[in-house]
């Protein structure tokens, strides 16, 4: 049984003011520096980036965002995507925040000397990747709510997405939810009671958008 997010409920904000944690999360690098590193083809190799899983998660998110931007260009939707400059900036901010290792999520092992964990950042990263891989979907934000550090405690996942044209939103949300449930089950022992998906942005084909404006 899944619950839907009420339309007027927004995400709880990340602790964006915690700059120490933000910098530590990306090994002291900013998302702009990582973007430049991608531009340079990751050459010369920078061990402070390459040896950081948080940087790698952010780099992969950046790469997928760039692919979507290129795809928008191909589909002559650049004008639409640029209608709000905050759109890309907001996704970049979230990629930065979500790449942090965050909390440790325990994995089960019978040995008393074993401490096996998957980081919250790794889970958010694979959830984001799962969403981005779906046709015409881009994950804007992904967050885990609840005590993920205690096995068996029910948690919820909240996801903001942008949906691109020609998609039936309820079907997309259902596909996304099923894919995310599968990934969480594959990589964690978390008990997920709900995956709330909020479509925060709809990208409309320029022609349709222009026609709409003519009629207003």
């Amino acid at each position: 049984m899944t619950e839907l997010t009420p339309a007027d409920r927004r995400f709880v904000e990340f602790d964006v003011d915690d700059t120490d944690r933000e910098q530590a999360g990306l090994n002291g690098h900013t998302i702009e520096q990582l973007s430049d590193y991608l531009d340079r083809g990751r050459v010369p190799a920078d061990p402070s980036i390459d040896d950081s899983p948080d940087c790698e998660i952010a780099l992969r998110g950046l790469e997928r965002l760039r692919r979507v931007q290129l795809s928008l260009l191909d589909r002559d939707l650049k004008r639409e995507s640029l209608r709000d400059d905050n759109w890309v900036a907001s996704i970049l901010d979230n990629i930065t925040l979500e790449a942090h290792a965050g909390r440790d999520i325990p994995l089960i092992h019978p040995s008393p000397t074993a401490r096996l964990v998957v980081t919250e950042g790794a889970v958010r990263g694979i959830l984001r990747e799962t969403g981005d891989k779906l046709q015409n979907v881009l994950v804007g934000r992904c967050a885990l709510f609840g005590d993920v550090g205690v096995p068996g405690v029910p948690i919820t996942i909240s996801v903001d997405v942008t949906v691109f044209p020609e998609e039936n939103i309820p079907l997309v949300a259902d596909r996304l939810r099923q894919a995310m449930y599968a990934v969480v089950a594959q990589h964690t022992n978390l008990v997920v009671t709900a995956i709330d998906i909020t479509v925060t942005d709809l990208s409309i084909a320029p022609q349709a958008s222009a026609q709409g404006q003519e009629h207003t």
Binding site: S48, D104, S111, T113, A114, V118, A122, V123
Partner: protein, 109 residues
């Protein structure tokens, strides 16, 4: 109080060989890792610092491995295999009792 044991890349090689392990990240502090890498780069050598960290604690040895895995595998399965491989290696090499073997899945996909 714990002490970092002398570095050895034996465990690095072992962990990298575990099925599903895509990347092995340094489990030590960021500062120490970057410093070592920088010194080695200046000296035009490949970084030598082992990524799996082994510490001697009062109650035994603590080993920490931080890994990235391919999305096709299960985090639980891969981390268990890494744990079991390290535990077997420690038993074989006659190390002091194991206090803890920590395996951190830090990236998936």
């Amino acid at each position: 109080m714990s002490a970092i044991l002398p570095p050895t890349d034996e465990l690095d090689v072992l962990v990298r060989q575990v099925a599903g392990v895509d990347v092995l990240y340094p489990a030590g502090s960021i500062v120490a890792t970057v410093l070592t890498a920088t010194i080695e780069a200046v000296a035009h050598r490949l970084p030598l610092a082992p990524k799996v960290v082994m510490e001697q604690r009062a109650d035994g040895v603590k080993v920490t491995a931080k890994i990235g895995i391919s999305a096709a595998w299960h985090s639980g399965d891969v981390s268990r295999r890494v744990h079991d491989a390290i535990a077997a290696q420690l038993r074989q090499s006659g190390n002091p009792p194991v206090a803890q073997i920590e395996v951190i899945v830090a990236r998936i996909g």
